[in-house]
Symmetry: C2
Subunit: 206 residues, 2 copies
């Protein structure tokens, strides 16, 4: 069987329930590791270095960029955010399936650098349901909800570039489905190469 | 949810247990239909037209070729064998996942014509186990077994062209795994296009 893990990007509309799904996967199954982003922004209250983010100085971040130490990165509002390569690779080597919760631009950069990456897009069953969920949070103003719906409209254009679309209607069922999709990726030739080579050698010897 | 079925090719070494796996899938789950091949060879004792094969005259078979009525075909020992397109397409349209049990050359032809096809390759856990299974049948001469092992050696070269490799160590586990891989294929953007389009339209209307 394959020993190396699968790199998984989980994207989806804001309000699709990605965060809860990822939390659910990590707590239900022991084959997952969550990638931790590196950022140059200051920690907010309660944020712990190495748990929520790896907090870094601008010059350290830029050195990582120069050394190709990040799988992807972006600059928002004058702060860098990126995915450190070494942590992801260590986890993959140790057999963990590594989850990255990032959005479409980042997802495409990861896929370009690591073509074996599995890209999953999570959607609610309908746009109406998405709006109800955003409203149901009770924390966003009508203006913010409106902005998120517009953003969802833009994001929906890139959905075909993902490998799999998962509908988050029932949380448990959706978690199970994502888990199955990720397990299935272990059966690709790429992950079965060791076994294939071994059988080939054996067959030649007969 | 997607309504159209997935076309699945199952190939594998002779002795890997494909036949039993396919039988198991068909009897355990109700989402499968088995593609029936068309052939110009004469029926053997006990073979029923429309069950084991669609038996056809040479001129009828050649008309099917001319009309692009076959997804793939080949000529062995002066007899044609092929996969009728209409039956497969009807079953896919009706939502069935259609299983084709064919070998690598046929698999590649199907993939070329219908790129959405899922290619699965079944292997025993080792070449030694493959040999034991062939010997265990007790029906083949040493010479035939030798030929099959040589053929397996050739076949093993094409394995990377498959989408998934499945190890048939435990029959029930392997059946379950194949079923999961096929269900997972229903989550590709291609199979979720209707939902995606619907959400896009809804999002634009907000």
């Amino acid at each position: 069987m394959s020993t190396k893990g699968v790199l998984v990007v989980i994207s989806g509309f804001s309000g699709a329930g990605k965060g809860t799904l990822v939390h659910n996967l990590l707590s239900k199954y022991d084959n997952y590791a969550l990638s931790i982003s590196m950022t140059t922004r200051s920690p907010r209250q309660g944020e712990v270095d190495g748990v929520h983010y790896f907090f870094s100085k601008k010059e350290d971040f830029e050195r990582e960029i120069a050394n190709d130490g990040l799988i992807e990165y972006a600059n928002y509002c004058d702060n860098y955010y990126g995915t450190p390569r070494s942590y992801v690779e260590e986890q993959l080597e140790s057999g963990k399936d590594v989850i990255l919760e990032i959005e479409i631009q980042g997802a495409m950069k990861v896929k370009a650098k690591m073509p074996e990456t599995l890209l999953l897009f999570v959607t609610p069953p309908s746009a109406g349901e998405l709006k109800r969920r955003l409203e149901g949070r009770g924390t966003e103003t009508a203006e913010v909800i409106d902005k998120r719906m517009k953003r969802a409209c833009e994001e929906s254009e890139g959905v075909e570039q993902y490998d799999y679309i998962v509908v988050n209607d029932d949380l448990e069922e959706c978690t199970r489905q994502i888990h199955q999709i990720i397990r299935t990726a272990h059966n690709t030739p790429n992950h079965q190469m060791e076994l294939i080579e071994q059988i080939r050698e054996e067959l030649k010897a007969f």
